[in-house]
Symmetry: none
Subunit: 496 residues, 2 copies
């Protein structure tokens, strides 16, 4: 739901939300998504043609599509004769009937219909007459779109161009689309080749997520077409939000963003080494195919002290507007920020931790409490309801409090013990609670010795704030984020 909303805001035209005939999760999505109002995008439900030998109104998948109540449906059907005979095991004629009937039925029900011609390119290579016949039948049944799918993802760009041209020439009155998979590593190029031949719908996914090697990556295709070929894919003012949309989606999907992704990756505009950096400083176009800010990304000069000073200043001024470029504290904060980012901190979505960092650097911080020590223990086998316990000692204004708590795991035990100890001094902490807790393992190849970044979101019922902690020890990383969250709450409570 969050991703659909974000894509709509970004300005994509169609959002395919799932296959309601295949599983209850997708049914639930279409049920719940009815409450969302989309401003740009049309929502699409996806499903197959009717099964062989039955009528469309007897087919459970088609019924599920109608129950989704989307204005658009995408119907996929077989265009490769081998799939008809060997996989769904029916006759070539019945497959044509299945395509015709399913699309006609959807048209009778008032839908905009996208026909996804599955395995179209493999089908065309094996039996061009039959593959084209499936498109013809779909067109006769009233399909609004004919979309050519490279389902197995193994086609070459020159093949795609040649075959798309045949289709575009033949079906001049129906808009044609393309749907590529990345098994040959060429999904983006294949989509672009198709567009150059007259295709006007590109199906793909953000960050290229998808089965096997993924679908065509829209985060690459959109800027390729819009920035370099002047195609209108999304509203022009949206493009500068591309990097942030890409990262938002990877965050929700809990997938580490690929740093080498074109346009949106963390390394996409990273420069290193004397000669290249020299050239970039003389003129960025020397080693950048587009300006990084055009897609909301940033240039990174690796190994260089001058990197991004103004970017960081902007961040500082958000917290402390009186700080200027020449304030002596700026260098100190930049150094600290760089050190922390190098350690794996990321302050996007954790602005409260950044605010605390700035406070500390500017000497505007206040010590609400001091943690003398803590100890967390997990045992197997364990007795009772909880698998972990924590003992903690805090000191506030010279008064010590020692307490303990049990919890669902070590972090929960520590969280409970800390609050219990602090509530003695700050009863208002009862208002505050955690609403979100995320863990991301950085450098996963270091296995259990890897660093983890913990993101916590908290609320007092009115405000919501985010904090972050990093450590090779998940308990410590959680602890850092937790302490930041409580401190941030206390600053606000005390109006400091």
């Amino acid at each position: 739901m969050k991703i659909a909303k974000k894509l709509d805001e970004f300005g994509v035209d169609y959002i395919e939300g799932g296959n309601p005939g295949s599983n209850p999760k997708d049914v639930e999505f279409f049920e719940k998504v009815k409450d969302i109002e989309f401003t740009n995008a049309k929502l699409v439900a996806f499903g197959s043609t009717r099964r062989a030998g039955i009528k469309p109104d007897e087919d459970a998948n088609l019924a599920a599509l109608l129950r989704s109540e989307t204005s658009v449906v995408a119907i996929f059907g077989k265009s490769w004769d081998f799939h008809v005979t060997d996989v769904i095991r029916t006759t070539l004629d019945e497959n044509l009937n299945m395509i015709y009937d399913s699309i006609a039925y959807m048209k009778q029900n008032g839908k905009e219909v996208v026909f996804d011609a599955e395995h179209f390119f493999d089908g065309y290579k094996a039996n061009p007459e039959y593959a084209l016949k499936t498109l013809e039948v779909a067109a006769q049944a009233g399909a609004d779109w004919l979309v050519l799918c490279d389902t197995n993802g193994g086609s070459f760009p020159s093949e795609i161009a040649q075959i798309v041209k045949v289709v575009v020439d033949r079906f001049s009155s129906i808009p044609i689309g393309i749907h590529c998979h990345n098994d040959g590593g060429m999904a983006v190029a294949n989509s672009i080749m198709a567009v150059e031949q007259g295709v006007v719908q590109v199906q793909g996914t953000f960050n290229g997520y998808g089965e096997r090697c993924g679908n065509a990556n829209l985060c690459t295709i959109i800027p390729n077409l819009q920035l370099k070929r002047n195609f209108y894919c999304v509203p022009p003012q949206s493009i500068a939000g591309l990097t942030s949309v890409s990262r938002y989606i990877s965050e929700l999907a809990n997938m580490a963003p690929n740093e080498r992704d074109p346009y949106v990756g963390n390394c996409a505009f990273a420069h290193k080494g004397g000669m290249h950096v020299d050239a970039i400083l003389k003129n960025p176009a020397s080693f950048e195919h587009v300006p990084p800010e055009s897609v909301g990304n940033e240039r990174r000069i690796l190994m260089s002290e001058v990197a991004g000073r103004s970017t960081i200043l902007g961040k500082i001024q958000k917290v402390a507007p009186w700080v200027t470029k020449s304030s002596p504290e700026v260098q100190k904060i930049i150094d600290e920020l760089k050190r922390l980012e190098h350690e794996g901190y990321q302050f996007e979505g954790a602005e409260s931790s950044f605010e605390l960092l700035v406070r500390r650097a500017l000497g505007k911080d206040h010590k609400f409490f001091e943690v003398k020590d803590f100890r967390v223990l997990c045992e197997e086998p364990w007795q009772g309801d909880y698998s972990a316990s924590a003992i903690i000692k805090v000191r506030v204004d010279g008064v010590e409090e020692v307490t303990a708590a049990e919890g669902d795991g070590p972090v929960n035990a520590l969280d409970k013990a800390l609050r219990k100890a602090l509530e003695v001094f700050y009863p208002q902490l009862k208002k505050m609670r955690l609403t979100d807790y995320k863990v991301r393992v950085l450098d996963t190849s270091k296995a259990t010795a890897a660093k983890v970044r913990v993101h916590i979101e908290s609320t007092d019922g009115e405000r919501v704030w985010g904090t972050v902690g990093v450590s090779t020890n998940i308990i410590e990383a959680s602890w850092n984020a937790l302490v930041d969250s409580i401190e941030y709450f206390l600053y606000n409570e005390m109006g400091m």
Copy 2:
């Protein structure tokens, strides 16, 4: 050195080992590599044309190339007029002289010379006459190869094809090469388009490693050309070793392998969802562009709630071939799978945990070891290098072993203690190590009391396998995945 040896074994023709004029590490490489005897590959040293205004024999970079004592050198020179005037800041004529002199000098010294025409495509688009002139001069100086570079990586496949054709037609007596970067996500396709126009050398890197978005990925280009277009890139018997070479290199480079990489990625032949799996079982060509074994990869059938009964059956039969659709155990396993998935387990990418589940359900499991108890302690402040410690007691064949370990965090401490205890009984465990560790917080709104799912990937240097664990206690979740990983390894080691 190890990578160079591996590439030679694999059968590549040229290995570019670095730029000895730019840094001491590369000088050292060429010094040491003299001791290696290559059977297939020629080693190449890489460097720029002489600097403006001096003679070639006065140039330090060219001297460094000669000192490398490789039979081949690659000389890169500017083909984009803007780079000549605005970056190296010399005249267009002097740049032509620099190219001529440097190549002629290398030819006088008996080298095979590759001329890398830097920014050739951007240069051609800006000033085609001048770009072609740089090639002409290189040819006149005796260059053995003219390589066209898309240095900024932003060109489109159709542009590449068109421009390469001009060059191939014009320089019919010199072999032409291509060197693409991936900033537009099309480096593989661009290389292939160039080959289709007559290019006979493709420069790229294994796994696509390279600055910014990377170089053209040879792990994709080689099978694309060799398996689908019958080009001879490497000896035919080598291709089946591609996946293993790719992983060996990522291992040495300490980069997590990209699981979605074409051909060699762990997901490249992974199938999910009832319909696709059904089709794959009928005929693998239905959803695979090449057979996975052709590149030394494996088909994986992913487990999930949407997987059809036949997927699960196929998976069960891998462990217990005698089980049929109607065996009473099938329902038991399906029920157990559903229960675990409801609890938050996900067996996609954790097929080994699923295999163990099947073994247990069928009573075909073996108790390699029993963990009597463990205890994990984290303290703040801590002394020494490690923030956590674990004590563990295991029992194997009636013999108990008690041991302890410290670690970077509680999970790492427990991981180390468990292995230490078990290696007493199973020394072969030293071969096995963890390559990936992921944590996902399920139901993040429960904050620190939320369930977490831990995903572990392990290797014994040859095979890679994944396991999973779920608990509200991250230590326990990690523990479950860890124990599964070790058990799975032992089943394989013992041939059970």
